[in-house]
């Protein structure tokens, strides 16, 4: 081939290749002009706030360039954007001190989730069918405003319900204002693993309606009653930091940790001594310890009010002598005495209760008993003990007054089903009660009564899929984020951060949307801000500045957090109006299901990966091996080896767990860390619709939980269901585990 023909040939093939690629839209690569300034390859760090739990940890977000697929003017192409790359714990944040839990690490996958809702949606099929069609923001908000106006015209404002999660942040305050200015009933707050019982007990014992903060770093003896404080409860990163310091942060001093619980949690797995008390009797054990301490005069009685509200306290708790404690709790009397002496002899010491012990019908008593024990050893408001963190009053900071008490979801559902009032418009923000509430409450049926359901969700979960209108929120990285933690630090903390990156989609910040709706109404709600960040700016500007050269607002935005001493007028008043005059005594826990027919206690517990299931859509968390079982992507049920042997259940076998409410099937995990009469199952899986990663995977234990409640608070007693367990068949593919061996001995015996 000569040079000329070679060139010709090249030209021909080159042109045809170019033409071919033009004709094929997939091969087009259009690069749009970036809308933002970003230096490729150069990372910048911006503050953020972890949105995943009430702990409110501070983030440092690494932002770099990335190529995003976008559609501009109907043309698909690539554009360089400034994208969040990695979430780190903010190193100087007073709650998390640079740490972040596994869930916080995975939070970034919310922003980039492939199944995020990218624009407002209007229901187009039957309710719950999951069929939606696109709608513009203007039409959506206009339609919604018209519906609200119609209610207002009819004087039927009470037919609006707002379902949200509990909390005391600015978003919640805005929702409260929105609801109350419109004239609707107080918002319905629901969280499966909430702390209402704890708050109520603290209010009764200490006059503080708040979850306590633990000073673990300075504790020398920690007595835990079921609280998974290193995994899922309260402020796990702050508590993890304190725990590390408690163990090895002091020269020559190593804090002792004893955990009382019927199923070894991730937290209990770290205990020096693990005590399996019968479910629902943890309070008896606490008072048994108090009895020994008082009887042996190991500590001066400084319990005060916390002791006084426990029946029999002034008589030295004679009903809680060790032998009687043994009969009730199953913990040997000698062990009760030894623990009491150890606990009394070590200063500072602290007791902490949370999780399953409070999820019984007598949960309030259990919490009061542990509070009294804390008061007895003088650990309240002391270094190494428990205290109440000053908390910013967001209502006062925003220059408002009044915040309504929240309603329970059980009440909401009952009212809706009995038609007083029949809900007309229901807003849903950040909760998925169709998934997390027990079926007996009939939340789904209640929502079916509503004429119009509006969800602010970013994903079609079991509740949002029932919506008539979906108004997707920005992700936490795309919008102003804030948190006002209730616990976890020694000083008041308010986290706040500006958007880290531009929104990827046609979404809007829910705070802004509420303010917008407020303005669109025929009778506007007259909220004093145009946008949510104006509300934040106004509120933070009211705070005292931590640094001399910057105001509190500027400083907080730069750091991602405001913290410091609070002027009394801005501190949340957590006292109880009228302290209880009655005393509380032990009542045997009430369980659903007959002990003969349903011999096992059923313990659904918050999973390390998914908490109550709201994070099951994140692939990193799905593939994270569970710390105790190494299970990934699955559901399982934990059974004691002796029980398993009796029921002829082998590791991995498929078993059926049945309660009075129904039955479900899961793979058995045989584990020594659970009492023989208890079976446990993590929450999180069993979603019917919750993105490609979570849908149709595993089972949801709440489906067989009975609607037993703690009477004083109405909180669900989620550990009060009894079940029976039977083997269905040999192991199948439903249980996926990362590791082969559970333990060396088991391997050897096999």
């Amino acid at each position: 081939m000569d040079r000329r023909s070679f060139i010709k040939l090249t030209a021909v093939t080159g042109t045809s290749a170019a033409l071919a690629s033009c004709g094929n839209p997939e091969n087009q690569l259009i690069r749009f002009v970036p809308a933002e300034d970003i230096v490729p390859g150069i990372a910048v760090w911006k503050p953020g706030v972890c949105p995943l739990c009430q702990a409110g940890c501070g983030l440092t977000v690494r932002v770099m360039d990335a190529d995003a697929d976008v559609v501009r003017n109907g043309q698909a192409g690539l554009v360089r954007i400034a994208a969040a790359k990695k979430l780190e714990g903010a190193s100087d944040h007073p709650v998390n001190h640079g740490g972040l839990c596994a869930r916080g690490q995975a939070a970034i996958q919310i922003t980039y989730h492939p199944d995020r809702i990218t624009q407002p949606l209007k229901r187009s099929g039957d309710r719950g069918s999951g069929r939606f069609e696109a709608i513009s923001w203007d039409d959506a908000l206009g339609d919604l405003a018209r519906r609200l106006d119609a209610l207002e015209t009819a004087g039927n404002q009470r037919a609006v319900a707002f379902l949200t999660r509990p909390g005391a942040g600015f978003r919640q305050t805005l929702i409260d204002q929105f609801v109350s200015r419109f004239g609707a009933p107080a918002p319905v707050a629901y969280e499966l693993f909430g702390d209402d019982v704890q708050r109520q007990a603290n209010a009764l014992s200490f006059g503080r309606h708040q979850v306590q903060t633990l000073d673990l770093a300075n504790t020398r003896y920690l007595l835990g009653f079921g609280a998974d404080f290193l995994g899922t409860w309260n402020s796990p990163v702050a508590q993890g930091a304190g725990y590390g310091a408690m163990r090895q942060g002091r020269l020559g001093v190593r804090g002792v940790f004893v955990q009382v619980e019927a199923r070894m949690s991730q937290t209990g797995a770290n205990a020096d001594e693990w005590v399996a008390a019968r479910p629902g009797t943890e309070g008896v054990l606490a008072l048994g310890l108090a009895h020994v301490m008082m009887a042996e005069k190991l500590v001066p009685d400084s319990a005060g009010r916390a002791g006084a509200i426990v029946a029999g306290w002034s008589d030295g708790l004679v009903d809680y002598a060790p032998d009687r404690v043994e009969r009730s709790t199953g913990v040997p009397a000698a062990r009760v005495e030894r623990l009491a002496r150890e606990f009394a002899a070590t200063r500072p010491a602290a007791a902490i209760v949370g999780g399953p012990p409070l999820a019984h019908s007598n949960g309030l008593f259990t919490a009061l008993a542990v509070n009294a024990l804390n008061a007895l050893v003088g650990s309240v408001d002391q270094p190494g003990g428990m205290s109440f963190m000053p908390q910013l009053d967001t209502v006062a900071a925003a220059g408002l007054t009044g915040s309504p008490a929240r309603q329970t979801i059980e009440r909401f559902a009952a009212d809706a089903l009995s038609g007083r009032p029949a809900p007309d418009v229901v807003f849903i923000d950040g909760v998925n009660p169709v998934f997390t509430a027990p079926p007996a409450w009939r939340v789904r049926e209640a929502l079916d009564q509503a004429a119009f359901v509006v969800s602010f969700g970013s994903f079609l979960d079991e509740t949002s899929v029932l919506a008539d209108l979906v108004l997707p929120d920005h992700s936490f990285l795309e919008s102003w984020s804030e948190a006002v933690p209730e616990a976890g630090a020694g000083v008041a903390v308010a986290s706040v951060a500006p958007p880290v990156m531009r929104p990827l989609y046609d979404t809007r910040a829910t705070g802004d949307v509420l303010l917008d709706i407020g303005r669109r109404l025929r009778r506007p709600l007259e909220l004093p801000w145009q946008t949510f960040d104006e509300m934040l700016a106004a509120s933070f500007s009211a705070l005292p500045s931590a640094t001399a050269d910057a105001d509190a607002w500027t400083d907080a935005q730069a750091k991602g957090v405001w913290s410091g001493p609070l002027p009394p007028r801005l501190a949340r008043q957590t006292g109880l109006a009228s302290p209880a005059r009655r005393t509380f005594s032990f009542e045997a826990p009430r369980f659903d299901g007959d002990a003969q027919q349903y011999p096992f206690h059923f313990l659904p517990y918050p999973s390390t990966a998914f908490l109550d299931g709201s994070l099951a859509h994140l692939p990193w968390l799905q593939e994270m091996p569970d710390p105790l079982t190494s299970a990934m992507w699955s559901s399982w049920i934990e059974i004691n080896p002796a029980t398993a042997a009796r029921l002829r259940i082998g590791d991995g076998d498929v078993v059926e767990v049945a309660s009075s409410q129904g039955a479900l099937q899961a793979a058995a995990v045989i584990t020594p860390g659970i009492a023989p009469d208890v079976v446990a199952m993590p929450m999180g899986q069993g979603h019917r619709t919750f993105t490609r990663y979570a849908s149709g995977r595993g089972v949801n234990p709440i489906e067989i939980v009975a609607a037993v409640t703690e009477p004083a608070t109405g909180a669900l007693a989620w550990a009060a269901t009894r079940v029976r367990v039977s083997r269905l068949g040999p192991p199948d593919s439903r249980l996926v585990r990362f590791a082969g061996g559970m333990r060396e001995e088991t391997e050897e015996r096999r």
Partner: protein, 452 residues
């Protein structure tokens, strides 16, 4: 020992070259189909990713490495046996040597495929070779895999020479009888063989040298293959016994492979008059010796482990001895020890049928042995949390079957195109060479009576 002489040898042994029966095509199609299936399986593994195999953390070696060791082991049949028999000048070797040496070459070729099949990125396999690179990047000469490369290549080269040299006079026979294309092909292969005394002398000398040289090479090859395992700190791998243990096992399986091949040839090519029961009897005795030797090594290895009672080793030991791998382990012991001992140890069972049964047992047993060396150890390495296991997927099973089919196919093709029994050696056995070193075969090579 009697077998046909003179022109009957030519007639009998050249018959397959000249007459093609339908059975040949059936066999080629049958084995070829399996080989094609294996190729498709391999291509799909390359295309879809290694994930279609059954390998999983932490058992990253499975069927492919088993097959690698197995086929390299089989390769010890031929050359080693033939070389030893040549050196001791065992007369009964003559009809056996070539079909043994062929096994070596083919088994090596097949065995050497497996490291490639097993690579995560086989298209970069040449990075294992010390090719001249302008970036001056060399392979890591400390890696046993690189030693494998050298060892196998050396053995392959040696074996091909060892096989080829004594074929030259036979090529000349065919050349002289053939016409057309065939004649041209065999002329090239015959390398100008004229049968002059000088050529005979050189051939004999070369064979003598090769026979001496190939023995240490063969021993070293399987020793080095054993180093793939024994150099790694894996419980039950990191042991000094692996070198001789592997070599013994290789010879053991090699003899079994040879016995099966001989029986098949005898039956299909009607070589009853060349491959006598005594050949089987003798090789059977050798099989018996190797079974005893194998048993000795296994006993040694197991006893030392058990007595030493190291926790990591015992985890693997328990797996093979009485836990999940026990059925395979005891099958292996039966097939490699009990069965050959019974069949070959008792004279009345040492028949051709007995030899074949024992050999099939040994082939299966030795394959299992390699599998049981690799998989339980990798699945039970030190940290119990990371214990795991392995189950093959169809791609691995298909490729494994294809490797056996490939062996059969190559054998069929070889027997079709090249006299599977060395014609001149057979004749030389009839007439011991005269002192003037003129082999009587010379005459035969001149006076052909076959018309091609």
């Amino acid at each position: 020992m009697t077998h046909p002489t003179g022109s009957r040898i030519n007639n009998d042994l050249l018959r397959p070259l000249l007459l093609t029966s339908w059975r040949f095509y059936v066999l080629v199609a049958f084995f070829g189909a399996f080989v094609a299936a294996g190729l498709i399986a391999w291509l799909s593994q390359i295309f879809f990713g290694f994930g279609i195999s059954g390998l999983r953390w932490p058992v990253y070696w499975g069927f492919y490495v088993t097959n690698f060791v197995f086929w390299i082991g089989i390769s010890h049949a031929g050359t080693l046996i033939s070389a030893i028999l040549r050196l001791v000048n065992a007369g009964w070797r003559r009809p056996v040597t070539r079909c043994a040496e062929v096994i070596t070459v083919f088994a090596l070729l097949i065995g050497a495929m497996f490291p490639l099949i097993h690579l995560g990125r086989p298209w970069l396999a040449f990075w294992l070779f010390p090719y001249p690179s302008e970036r001056l990047i060399w392979p890591n000469f400390r890696s046993p895999l690189v030693w494998d490369f050298f060892a196998i290549n050396t053995y392959l080269t040696g074996s091909i020479l060892f096989l080829f040299l004594p074929m030259i006079p036979d090529f000349a026979v065919v050349r002289d009888r053939a016409t057309g294309l065939r004649r041209r092909v065999y002329r090239v292969l015959a390398l100008g063989w004229r049968g002059t005394p000088k050529q005979w002398h050189r051939l004999e000398t070369a064979m003598q040298i090769m026979a001496i040289a190939i023995i240490p090479v063969a021993v070293s090859v399987h020793t080095i293959v054993s180093f793939d395992f024994s150099m790694a700190p894996v419980p039950m791998w990191n042991t000094t016994i692996f070198g001789p243990y592997f070599v013994a096992g290789a010879i053991f399986s090699g003899i079994a492979g040879l016995l099966i091949a001989m029986a098949a040839l005898r039956k299909f090519l009607h070589l009853e008059e060349y491959l006598h029961p005594v050949h089987f009897e003798n090789l059977g005795k050798l099989l018996l010796v190797m079974a005893l030797l194998w048993g000795y090594f296994v006993f040694n290895e197991r006893l030392v482990t058990y007595y030493g009672n190291g926790p990591a080793e015992m985890a693997v030991f328990r797996q093979t001895q009485w836990q999940s791998f026990a059925p395979l382990h005891w099958t292996m012991v039966f097939l490699n020890f009990v069965l050959p001992l019974t069949l070959m140890g008792i004279r009345k069972f040492r028949t051709i049928a007995g030899c074949v049964i024992a050999s099939i047992g040994v082939i299966v047993g030795m394959w299992l042995e390699r599998f049981l060396i690799i998989v339980p150890a990798l699945g039970h390495k030190y940290l119990p949390y990371s214990y795991g296991t392995y189950r093959p997927e169809p791609v691995e099973i298909v490729i494994t079957i294809a490797s056996f089919a490939a062996m059969s196919l190559l054998y069929v093709l070889f027997a079709k195109f090249i006299p599977i029994i060395s014609i001149w050696e057979l004749k030389a056995g009839e007439h011991p060479p005269a002192p003037d070193l003129v082999p009587p075969a010379t005459e035969e090579h001149r006076l052909g009576d076959l018309r091609l």
